[in-house]
Amino acid sequence: MAKKYGMIHDNNLCIGCQACNVACRSENQIPESVYRLQVWVKPEEYPNGTLGYEYHRQSCVQCENTPCVSVCPTKASYKNVDGIVLIDVDLCVGCLYCVAACPYQARYVHPVTKAPDKCTFCHESRLGRGEEPACVTVCPTDALIFGDLNDPKSKINQALSTRVTYRQKESLGTNPKIFIVPNKKGGINS
């Protein structure tokens, strides 16, 4: 049976250290000034006046219902059998329809190929070797959990059964496979 890869980002465990960001860049040889992954750190104030931080993983959310794939005129943007959204650079003409259509701003233009590029869950590197994505591997607080959503015994499904999660811009019906555990302390807008 095909896999369906997904990920959890736990806002209570994340400390915004950017280890994932750095690991992604080095493992996938991302050129300078562009990023597949960043963690945006936003200072917030709780209703009682205490300082708090919100962590936003800015990257592809691996939609099931993919706006980027729907608009691509040449099928260069596609979703593979394991549910990962990828780009076939050879088919790409560079119209940037996908970059514009993505509601999550997950795509950037690769400075060398001039085709859009994005998070692939390390499909071309680590995943192929049976390893977890670089960001998950290096996270010092285990704020990231990766796994197969089709396997009831997978780590991600265990976590999804015990933690409250939401997904970004759920109202758009894109069905992202990145799940976010909201800040338990409350009072902070997502």
Binding site: Q18, Y35, S70, V93, G94, L96, A100, P103
Partner: protein, 321 residues
């Protein structure tokens, strides 16, 4: 780079730039010019050569402007040398693919239609008459009024005019694009730019062949389409406002914030809609035929439509809620 996580340059929501707006304008103008030419040709008495200057203007503008637009589009790709892949790889769920397929039919039809209207110049008096001689037989065999070719061209002109709107409205990442009225607005403004371009071009280059009656007919047509644009814009923004949430916020921002609000009120409404209406009720009152004002009217309509395309493209990508 001034924050912990690195440069945020790549996260600009403005992805498509002015060449796309100019393409949307030229495609709309091409479709509008084809429709205008056919509308005039289908008027009783205009159906055979010598063709009215307005028919010829539209017949010439349609293929020329669509080709200009397509060149612009190709050179705006980040991988322009790969553009041919658009022609052989299809995704029938993508408005861009559907546009490519519609253009496959529209563009050659526009060229054939123009060839019929410029037959004497192409095959007898023009500089290429010797070179084009072998094609004369083909154009002759089509005849002066190929009913089905003209009907198909008209249908595809409507499709081209409307697809440019769907191209943008298919993206739900941008609330101002993602409205059902946008394709209709683009079709209406495309038609009004086509009418204006035909009048302008006809009166500048084929003046002796333009029948005053036909020019007046087109002026009247434009005077009906321009208020329709105003109504569509009004319904679009009020409709977004009543949808609430992000859409309401975007509608208000787009009409009140920064340079694009100025472009809207000054360029789209002021130049493109208010000025032609003002000219119509003053200088051209009671269908007076004053060529200077008619040309001015055509210019402001055209400029207004360029402003509209630029405004929608940029404001739509700038204000995302």
């Amino acid at each position: 780079m001034n924050q912990l996580w690195g440069s945020m340059e790549q996260y600009s929501t403005v992805v498509w730039h002015w060449p796309i707006a100019v393409y949307l304008f030229l495609a709309g103008l091409s479709a509008g010019a084809a429709m205008t030419s056919l509308i005039v040709k289908w008027i009783e008495g205009n159906g055979k050569p010598p063709w009215d200057g307005l028919i010829k203007a539209g017949a010439l503008l349609a293929p020329v402007t669509i080709c200009l637009g397509l060149f612009l589009l190709i050179f705006d790709l980040t991988r322009p040398l790969h553009f041919w892949k658009l022609l052989i790889h299809y995704n029938f769920g993508s408005v861009m693919t559907l546009g490519v397929l519609a253009l496959f039919i529209y563009t050659p039809l526009a060229f054939i239609y123009a060839a019929i209207k410029f037959k004497p110049w192409l095959f007898e008096t023009g500089p290429f008459s010797g070179l084009l001689k072998p094609f004369r037989g083909i154009v002759d065999s089509i005849g002066d009024s190929p009913v089905w070719l003209e009907r198909t061209l008209f249908l595809f002109a409507v499709i081209i005019g409307i697809y440019t709107g769907f191209l943008l409205s298919a993206m739900y990442s941008y609330p101002l694009f993602n409205t059902p009225l946008l394709p209709i607005l683009f079709l209406a403004s495309g038609l009004s730019s086509g009418v204006a371009a035909c009048i302008l071009f006809g009166l500048l280059f084929f003046k002796s062949e333009v029948n005053e009656k036909n020019a007046k007919y087109l002026l009247e047509l434009d005077l009906r389409v321009v208020p329709m644009e105003l109504l569509l814009l009004f319904a679009l923004f009020v409709g977004m406002y009543f949808q609430g949430g992000d859409k309401a916020i975007v509608a208000v921002q787009a009409l009140t914030t920064g340079i694009w609000a100025w472009v809207f009120w000054g360029g789209v409404i002021g130049v493109g809609i208010a000025t032609p209406l003002l000219i119509a009720v003053t200088a051209l009152k009671n269908h007076a035929y004053r060529v200077g004002y008619i040309l001015l009217n055509a210019w402001v309509v055209l400029i207004g439509v360029i402003f509209l395309r630029l405004y929608i493209l940029y404001a739509g990508q700038t204000f995302v809620g």
